[in-house]
Every structure is written in structure tokens, then in C-alpha cells.
């Protein structure tokens, strides 16, 4: 049951997830080709974060399968391979500097050098030499740091949950440009937002998650 199409970065088949009586995801099929930016929109509480967590392997679906780069989550690997994630509000060790936090995480994966960590911090508009503890960071700075941790290992797939949360307009524009640059480098990006306009700027295709169903929508907002 592996995906034979090597142009696909991620595929889900029949994903179901319930919390109590609430069906959050109802038989969701989804395909994400390589080298594109796809967006998922929907109001808060519709299950976007849960879906992204399932894709990354952090949450197990009740039924269905997720494959990332032809590897079945839960059988071949426990978590999505070659993937960077930013889901919900990123949490860090508050007493450590942003750079120290990222270096620790990079040591767990063993996939990013200290120089690469510093580069990633620079790329999201933060100063890698800033020694202040994360507890002093604003919410926008924490969000940028979260994005830096997602990209620091140079993953082929990025799963980003509302990456521009807490950023001002200039900050949002910087992140958009950066994501578009990543796509040009061949990276694949899946992004969620409750702001459809944001997704319109960035995405090749936009999906809407509503009542547990994932439906592709055109840029004019109509369901296809």
C-alpha cells in the first residue's frame, strides 16, 4: 500500500479522528505533491491543528493511514521523516536563549550544526547572538523562533500551523517571501490559517476543513 508516485510528498487515506462524540476528522483523503505550498483554512476549533499533528505523527488517528515520503507513519517510522513542524504555540525552555533552545533540539535530531542553527535564526529575522532568555521574548519573536526550529534541519517538508500568528504586517510579509523562496528551492509546504487572504497570497491550492471534511476550494472561495 505504499505510494508509487514519487512526486507525492504526503498522502493520507481515510483519516478518522474522534474526541468523545465529536468527530474532528471524517474519512479525510489528502495528497500533497512535492514542491508546492498548499493551505488549509477554517475557523478556530475545526481540527486543523489535530490534522497537522496526525500528519506529523504526534497524534495517532483512530483509523486511516499517513505516508510521508513513501514511509508509512506508525509502521515504517513513528514520526514524519525529513519534516519541520510548527504546530500551536511553540514552547521553549524559558530560562535559555533562543539559540540555546534550538541548539538543544538540533542535538536531539543530530541534523543541524551550530552554524546552521544561527543561519535559521537569522533567516526568520532574529539575532542569533541575542543572549536574552526566551521568557523575555514577545509572542512575535517566539513565533519566529518556532519557525526557525522548523527550518533549521533543512527539511524537505514543512508543516506550519498559523506561522504568522502574532507577527505584525511587515513580519508577515517577510515570512511570506521566505516561504515562497523555500518553494522555489523545491521544498514542500503545508500551511494552515484562519485567514483565507493570507493563504491566497501564498498557496497553490487551498482546502477548507469543515465538519470533519477536507474540501478543496478555489481562490474565489467557492468549493470545487
Amino acid at each position: 500500500m505504499t505510494i508509487q508516485d514519487t512526486s507525492i510528498a504526503l498522502e493520507t487515506r481515510g483519516i478518522m479522528k474522534r474526541f468523545g462524540k465529536n468527530t474532528v476528522l471524517d474519512n479525510v483523503d489528502f495528497r500533497l505533491p512535492k514542491g508546492v505550498i498548499y493551505g488549509i483554512c477554517g475557523p478556530n476549533g475545526t481540527g486543523k491543528s489535530v490534522f497537522l499533528r496526525i500528519l506529523s505523527g504526534l497524534i495517532k488517528p483512530d483509523s486511516g493511514a499517513v505516508e510521508v515520503f513513501r514511509q508509512l507513519i506508525g509502521r515504517d517510522v513513528e514520526f514524519a521523516p525529513s519534516t519541520g513542524i510548527l504546530i500551536d504555540n511553540p514552547g521553549f525552555l524559558l530560562a535559555n536563549s533562543g539559540r540555546r533552545n534550538l541548539e538543544l533540539l538540533a542535538s536531539v535530531s543530530g541534523k543541524a550544526t551550530k552554524e546552521r542553527v544561527a543561519d535559521a535564526i537569522r533567516q526568520v529575522g532574529l539575532d542569533p547572538n541575542d543572549r536574552r532568555p526566551v521568557s523575555t521574548y514577545s509572542s512575535g519573536m517566539r513565533q519566529r523562533l518556532g519557525l526557525a526550529q522548523a527550518i533549521m534541519e533543512d527539511p524537505d517538508l514543512l508543516i506550519l500551523d498559523e506561522p504568522t500568528n502574532g507577527l505584525d504586517f511587515e513580519g508577515q510579509k517577510e515570512i511570506y517571501s521566505y516561504l515562497i523562496e523555500l518553494r522555489a528551492q523545491g521544498k514542500t509546504i503545508l500551511i494552515t490559517s484562519h485567514n483565507r487572504d493570507e493563504l491566497k497570497i501564498l498557496c497553490d491550492e487551498i482546502y477548507t476543513l469543515s465538519y470533519g471534511k477536507l474540501v478543496m476550494t478555489r481562490n474565489d472561495g467557492l468549493e470545487s
Partner: protein, 280 residues
């Protein structure tokens, strides 16, 4: 190397917190109470008149404090549970770390070992604080005091008291408590894995301890295996509510060893299905 870094993050999250200063006032106050109690039973006038050295010493306070079932259940073990109770559900940075670690099995091993380190540090610091403070008041000696020599008065089994010096007895107690706290911490984690609420984990471990106080009183004239069942009897050296012990100390080590093996295995099974999302 990857596991070591992950483990370091876990330890940092669990132990580099202000709450870990709490043992200082708690064990300090316990030492103050025990010092008072021992002096009341051995009035200073009597101690001076007797003219004999080593009438009482800090070991008396240490063994009485860590041997009293109520102090153990309501203060000492309870404080440990409070210190580590929210190590699960996994924190946001812990989730980022486990995602990079790539293994739920290693994650559970890291969680379990971090509770062991916490138990070691807690027991060591608790004993040191109590012992150091009461040394100032009651004095220090490498030998048993005359007050403690009967064993019953300081809640040490008489046979053990005849066989080993106080330092060795303290080591035996230390090992027993470290294993016990580790197991209770693991129980708390397993219940939290099941319920996703650390409060339930904490209450389960605390109720087991308090419940075992009640059960202990009724376990009379039963086989040795049953006598050992209440966890409180394996955290202190005597068989609460009696000031003596009927089963060798090694059985308590075995008791905790079995409990840890069962809890670790159970947690391993649960961790395979563990969902990581935001803390409650």
C-alpha cells in the same frame, strides 16, 4: 548522544524550577520538630547530668523522620509527588524533542529515568537537610546513640541496628526510598498517560499511599507476602503500625523492583498509542 540530549532537556524541565527549593523549608521544619521531640524525651538536664557522650544524635532524627509512616505519606512522599506531578502530559518543547528523537520507546525511557534522577536528588537532599540541621542541635556521631540503641525509639528494626552502623542503615533506607519514590512517580505517570490529567496521576499515587496506612493496620497474622503489600511498609523500615519488622529489608527492594518492571512495561505499551498535544 541523541538520547542523552533528550534526557538533558527532560531533566532541565523537571528539576530547574523554583519549586525544587521547597524541600529546604519542609525538611528544615521537620528537623526542627524532630529535634524538639527528641529533646523532650531526653530533657537537657538529664543529658547534662548523665555526663555521657552520644546520648542522642542526628541519626535519631533522620531515622525517626524517615521512619514515621505519617510523615512519610503526608509530607515526604507527598512533596516528591508534588514536585514531579506535571512531568506529563508532554510539554510543547518536549513534543518538539520527541518528534526529533523519533521513538516513543526512547521517550518513555527518558521520562522514566528523569523520575529516577528526581527521586535520587530529592531523597538525597531531604536526608542531607534533615541530618545537617539536626546535627547542629543533637550532635553527630558515627555510632548509634544511647537513646536509639533500643531501635524501637527511633523506628529502626532492632536486628538491623545490631548488625550495621547508622551510616549503612541510612544507605539501606536511602535506596529503599529512592526506589519507592521512583515507583510512585512512575505510577503517577502511567495514570497520567491513561487519563491525560496529571491531577488524576497525583491523586492516584497519593490515595494509594494513604490507603495503605489504613490497610497496614489490618494485615496481622497473614503470610509475609501479604504483610509486604502496602507500599508504606516498603518506604519505611518498620512494619507500620508496629515498631518492628518481620520480613528482611531485601524484600522491599524486590517489591519496588517488581513494581517498577510492571509500571515501565505498562507505560511502554501505553506510550505506543500516546498522542502528543497541548497540555491540559
Amino acid at each position: 548522544m541523541r538520547f542523552q540530549v533528550f534526557f538533558r532537556i527532560q531533566i532541565q524541565q523537571l528539576m530547574l524550577r523554583w519549586r525544587w527549593l521547597l524541600p529546604l523549608p519542609v525538611f528544615g521544619f521537620l528537623g526542627y520538630l524532630l529535634g524538639n521531640a527528641i529533646i523532650v524525651r531526653n530533657p537537657p538536664a538529664f543529658l547534662q547530668q548523665s555526663g555521657a557522650d552520644n546520648m542522642v544524635n542526628a541519626w535519631d532524627a533522620l531515622f525517626t523522620g524517615f521512619g514515621n509512616a505519617y510523615y512519610m505519606a503526608f509530607v515526604i512522599a507527598n512533596l516528591f509527588l508534588l514536585l514531579v506531578c506535571d512531568s506529563l502530559p508532554e510539554s510543547p518543547i518536549g513534543q518538539l524533542a520527541v518528534f526529533r528523537l523519533g521513538s516513543r520507546k526512547s521517550w518513555w525511557a527518558g521520562k522514566s529515568l528523569s523520575v529516577l534522577v528526581a527521586a535520587l536528588m530529592y531523597t538525597l537532599s531531604g536526608m542531607l537537610i534533615l541530618f545537617t540541621l539536626t546535627s547542629l542541635r543533637l550532635g553527630f556521631s558515627w555510632e548509634w546513640s544511647k537513646f536509639g540503641w533500643s531501635g524501637d525509639t527511633i523506628l529502626v528494626p532492632t536486628l538491623l541496628l545490631r548488625q550495621v552502623k547508622p551510616f549503612m542503615a541510612a544507605l539501606i533506607l536511602f535506596g529503599m526510598d529512592v526506589l519507592g519514590f521512583w515507583a510512585l512517580g512512575m505510577l503517577m505517570q502511567v495514570v497520567t498517560l491513561l487519563t491525560r490529567r496529571f491531577l488524576f496521576g497525583y491523586l492516584a499515587a497519593l490515595l494509594l499511599l494513604i490507603g495503605s496506612l489504613g490497610v497496614s493496620g489490618s494485615l496481622v497474622n497473614v503470610p509475609d507476602v501479604l504483610k509486604l503489600l502496602p507500599p508504606i511498609r516498603n518506604l519505611i523500615m518498620t512494619f507500620y503500625p508496629y515498631p518492628f519488622r518481620e520480613v528482611a529489608m531485601g524484600w522491599s527492594y524486590l517489591y519496588w523492583g517488581i513494581a517498577l518492571a510492571v509500571l515501565f512495561s505498562f507505560g511502554l505499551i501505553l506510550s505506543r498509542q500516546q498522542n502528543y498535544y497541548s497540555k491540559e
